[in-house]
Symmetry: C2
Subunit: 252 residues, 2 copies
């Protein structure tokens, strides 16, 4: 299983992914599911604008790795005039490029996987910004179609999404400061990890503040002292807050 989430806040973009993959509970490995690109652009000489792009993947690892490999190859080898995520003029077109890759790979690999009784299900989150444009986040489904998150619900999740959603619903809005957004993302991950063994550390975090290009990336191990303090303190505060709640009278 997997849990990845993307937050699109006024102050910036936050991506957080776990790194556990499993082919059964007896076959668990660490695989990065967060990919970032930071491309300087060449707008001064009529080339593409600078861009900060991110991708997180869930589902069939062979499917999503092929999508990433094809994307990287395309950036390196595309002929002049052929659009790639490095030259697309908008985040919508970047999302469309990943959606098209998803369709291609599903069409080529899906039938054989299905014949072998193996699922080719996969989904991705695409995040980024181009030039001075705003940050945008997209959820790309298995059929290559996609949706974009709006200000009303400024986050997207893939994989094991339910355990970690309650905390996001309660504390997160588009106005949440970037540092609080990182905390909310980590608590969402922490709740998921406690409930689903097949989601696990290390976690990959990438943050890009509004108005600047490039990602701050950090890998967070399970024994990271700040993460551990965050998790323990949150548990303590939940319990203290819980004890302070009013009692419900048991009869009408």
């Amino acid at each position: 299983m997997t849990y990845c989430l993307a937050l699109n806040l006024d102050q910036g973009l936050i991506l957080l992914a776990d790194s556990r993959t499993n082919a059964g509970v007896d076959d668990i490995s660490v695989f990065g599911k967060l990919f970032t690109w930071s491309l300087p652009g060449a707008a001064d000489s009529g080339g593409p604008e600078a861009r900060t792009l991110g991708l997180m993947t869930a589902g069939s690892l062979s499917i999503t790795q092929e999508i990433v490999a094809l994307t990287e190859e395309e950036i390196d080898t595309a002929a002049d005039g052929v659009e790639t995520i490095a030259t697309a003029p908008s985040m919508f077109r970047v999302a469309e490029a990943f959606g098209a890759k998803m369709r291609d790979v599903q069409n080529r690999r899906g039938p054989q996987l299905a014949a072998a009784g193996v699922s080719s299900a996969a989904s991705m989150i695409v995040a980024g910004k181009i030039g001075a444009g705003p940050g945008e986040i997209f959820l790309i489904y298995q059929a290559g179609n996609f949706i974009e998150a709006t200000r009303d619900t400024p986050f997207l999740q893939i994989g094991e999404t339910k355990y970690g959603k309650v905390i996001l619903d309660r504390v997160l809005t588009a106005e949440t400061p970037l540092s609080d957004g990182v905390k909310a993302a980590l608590l969402s991950m922490d709740g998921t990890v406690r409930s689903n063994l097949s989601v696990g550390a290390p976690f990959d975090l990438a943050v890009s503040a509004t108005g600047a290009h490039g990602w701050l990336r950090r890998r967070i191990e399970a024994d990271d002292p700040v993460y551990k303090q965050l998790s323990d303190q949150w548990s303590d505060q939940l319990r203290a807050g819980f004890m302070a709640l009013p009692e419900l009278p048991l009869t009408d």
Copy 2:
């Protein structure tokens, strides 16, 4: 959808069920999913021991209503010497009786439902105690097989279980006092209702303290003032606790 949960605490049993059923989002009704029996017994005259029994249901309403109807009919009409949940000597045998009903009804109705493209999926939680015996809770699956909760994880859930599990994992143990157990159950329900529209109020609550027979039952409407205060205060405390958490440095 449905969300029901049962807590088996040292101080007693707690059952909580939502009451929303839907046949599509355009066809939503209120149906009770919590059924309780309080049977005085006749141990003095060699009859069955007193018992306090509860049932919560999820899944196909036609399947689970038939199970309840058959169970009620059997209690009323069983010939002397024929075991029913009113005379079974142990909670294990009570769970087995509900499991057998599930198998019967699935065998009779399942194929026709499947032919019509309708799911017959259903699950149930059985809770109770017999005589001076301990409280026990069981989760009965569609095939009629079942598991019993143990002290390590003293709760069971059916229906939309994931949103409400994180809070239970964080605050609940078998030693949790009964009044705190009720709060934890309501917060678990509150988190689920916020995330899944097809789970909704009113909620049915039943509590039976250890050492006594019979249920305290209460129906909780969405605008119940104590429930609303619990929900609002919890949200406020979560936000306050959240703000007090340490910040994660973004670079290693």
